[in-house]
């Protein structure tokens, strides 16, 4: 199991957001998490990535190692990647120098040699093409002056550069028009492989038409209340969370 979460609880400023999440994602699989607003989807992704400010209990194991106490940068260097719902602008920090530092930190951490300038540039060109990110954007400061869609594509570009083992996409589809959604999803699909797992957090089933999940989980009020195959996402879209939940309760 690449990612194994057991009884994960998280609260912020005394308010409990996650109330015992259990989730297992095997290597190579794509799992989707759906849920209504305020159900704790973004908190779950933040806590897995190691964001400060939450009080947590329970267990998060990544490839067998307990990572709850790890700093976010160590999780990243080990191969955990979070594509932000709202990518952050870094004023004056050039995208390529930023990424070069990040990529080399990850490489050092896993015992690979650092990339020199020319092989790094070649890698950037190759990966930028995956999400059709223009060379002009690569020369700019990180996310500064990027449109909403460009920011989201930039997240997937960074994911491709960092070559993670586990990627969490936090509402990567929000704010994207239809064409941009297709480009981003195609980019993500090219990054699927038998070693890499994806956790796709979304409101809508549309993204899941492009990135087809192996499992769909429904997060409501801080806990996963249902899991199923991709047809669960279709049922949710058709009937809404409440109805699907009610049907489940009846049938069980």
């Amino acid at each position: 199991m690449l990612l194994e979460i057991e009884n994960l609880r998280a609260s912020i400023e005394g308010k409990e957001i996650l109330k015992g999440v259990n989730l297992s994602v095997p290597a190579g699989e794509v799992h989707a998490i759906m849920g209504p607003n305020g159900s704790g989807k973004s908190t779950l992704s933040s806590v897995i990535a190691g964001k400060d400010g939450y009080e947590t209990s329970g267990s998060i194991r990544f490839d067998g190692q307990e990572i709850s106490d790890w700093e976010p940068e160590i999780r990243a260097r080990e191969g955990m990647f979070l594509a932000f719902q709202y990518p952050v602008e870094l004023p004056g920090v050039g995208l390529s120098s930023f990424l070069r530092a990040c990529v080399n930190e990850r490489r050092k951490h896993i015992g690979q040699s650092e990339l020199d300038a020319s092989s790094f540039l070649a890698l950037m060109r190759e990966k930028a093409a995956l999400v059709e990110l223009s060379q002009d954007l690569i020369r700019r400061p990180v996310n500064q002056g990027f449109s909403g869609g460009e920011k989201k594509r930039n997240e997937i570009f960074q994911m491709a550069m960092l070559d993670p083992r586990m990627a969490i996409l936090d509402e990567t589809d929000s704010g994207l028009d239809i064409d941009a959604l297709r480009i981003v999803a195609e980019g993500v699909n090219k990054l699927r492989n038998p070693q890499r797992s994806l956790l796709v957090i979304t409101h809508y089933q549309r993204l899941l038409e492009y990135i087809v999940p192996d499992r769909v989980h429904v997060l409501i009020d801080g806990a996963i209340v249902m899991s199923g195959d991709r047809t669960l996402a279709l049922a949710l879209e058709e009937k809404g969370y409440d109805l699907v939940r009610a049907e489940q309760e009846v049938s069980s």
Partner: protein
């Protein structure tokens, strides 16, 4: 009466500045009376033979003047010869020999009228220093580097220096200074700079004082028609540092560009005061200062722009930005504009803030440590300023020194 006698007379009418003086409210040296007693009670400044010579930060082929406790060390220096049209000599030599000084350029010509208490005091002591003159029409073919070392023999010793720099009409010079001193001493530095018509001086001062060392410096500049003065201050050390830069734009179309990068250490204090006095029409000034303040450190910036009634078409710009590296860091910024002409453009701005926690988290979630993330954002904050420095080697040296210093200050400020 000599200029030092006049300065001694001026001192009688000055009192030691303290917190009640507007210009000194953030930075005052209450212990200076004690320092002074050491000086005047039979402990004259000793000038030791120079035992060490730090390497210069510049790889380029430059003229070098090594100055130890105010005294030019000719044997350790590489000075321009007479045929270059540039003279670098001891101030006392220039005063005593005849080839010396036109009346307008004599020592004290600026400082007797405009010098603050400590500058008067330095002159009253007859402080030694350099005389630098670039003859009319000469464009210096190499940089001139002044390597200043303050070597104290006893705690609380004050080491005064007094440089006089004259660029005659159409002369041009790039002048860089490294200023070093360690232990519980104080450098008291006075510089008088005259730029004649169309003269051009690019002047960089790199302050690399030790953690216990103090400094009071005043640079006074008089600019004639179409002259250009560019000053870069790198404040990379010291316990308590007070830099005063006073520029009189006497001639039309004079241009002044002041740039400062201020990095006070943990618990240390750096104060930069500027005064640009627009006395003639069509003069311009541009000031850009950035401070990065470590834990319990303080940065002070007081920028005064004074526009005379007749100085129409003045164009003055001033901006100070500070980045506080810790909650306990302090930045005091105060623009002062006094404008008596009605057809001028004067603007100023100041910002202060801390790094954004969301930005740091984003960078960490991509694999950078907190220090790496902070440094990358801090370097971005000063990059455009460093990139505007003249000369590749100066730029590179400053980039590196700044990175190393930020690295240390971040470790101590997180």
């Amino acid at each position: 009466m000599s200029y030092s006698d006049q300065a001694a007379g001026n001192l009688l009418n000055h009192k030691l500045p303290d917190y009640r003086d507007e210009d000194w409210k953030y930075t005052h040296y209450s212990g200076f009376e004690h320092y002074k007693k050491l000086q005047t009670s039979g402990n004259p400044i000793a000038h030791p033979p120079l035992a060490r010579r730090s390497t210069t930060p510049f790889h380029e082929d430059a003229w070098i003047a090594v100055v130890v406790n105010g005294i030019l060390q000719a044997n350790l220096s590489n000075l321009p010869n007479h045929s270059t049209g540039i003279r670098v000599a001891k101030l006392s030599e220039a005063i005593s020999d005849d080839s010396g000084l036109e009346p307008g350029y004599s020592p004290g010509a600026l400082a007797l009228a405009k010098g603050h208490y400590y500058s008067q005091w330095a002159m009253a002591q007859g402080a030694e220093g350099l005389f630098i003159r670039v003859n009319s029409g000469i464009v210096a073919e190499k940089h001139l580097l002044i390597h200043t070392i303050n070597d104290i023999q006893q705690p609380q010793q004050v080491l005064p220096t007094h440089h006089l720099i004259v660029l005659e009409s159409n002369a041009a010079l790039t002048l860089s200074e490294t200023q070093e001193g360690s232990g519980e001493g104080m450098s008291l530095s006075l510089q008088e700079i005259h730029l004649s018509n169309q003269a051009r001086l690019e002047h960089s001062q790199l302050q690399l004082w030790g953690n216990e060392f103090e400094c009071i410096q005043q640079v006074l500049v008089a600019q004639q028609t179409e002259s250009h003065y560019a000053h870069f201050a790198y404040c990379g050390g010291g316990a308590k540092v007070r830099n005063q830069l006073t520029v009189m734009q006497e001639g039309q179309l004079a241009l002044t560009e002041l740039t400062g990068l201020v990095l006070p250490g943990v618990g240390k204090h750096v104060d930069n005061q500027t005064l640009i006095h627009h006395q003639s029409p069509h003069t311009s000034s541009r000031q850009r200062y950035r401070s990065l303040v470590a834990r319990e450190g303080t940065s002070v910036f007081n920028g005064k722009v004074y526009v005379n009634p007749g100085a129409q078409k003045t164009d003055a710009y001033q901006h100070h930005a500070s980045l506080l590296m810790h909650e306990t860091a302090v930045s005091n910024a105060k623009p002062e504009l006094e404008i008596y002409a009605d057809d001028v453009k004067c603007s100023h701005g100041a910002t202060a803030g801390m790094l954004d926690a969301g930005e740091i988290h984003y960078m960490r979630s991509r694999g950078l440590s907190e220090v790496q993330a902070r440094m990358m954002l801090q370097e971005a904050f000063v990059r455009d300023l460093l990139d505007s420095l003249p000369g590749e080697s100066l730029r590179l040296w400053c980039h590196n020194h700044c990175s190393d210093r930020l690295n240390v200050l971040n470790q101590l400020s997180i």
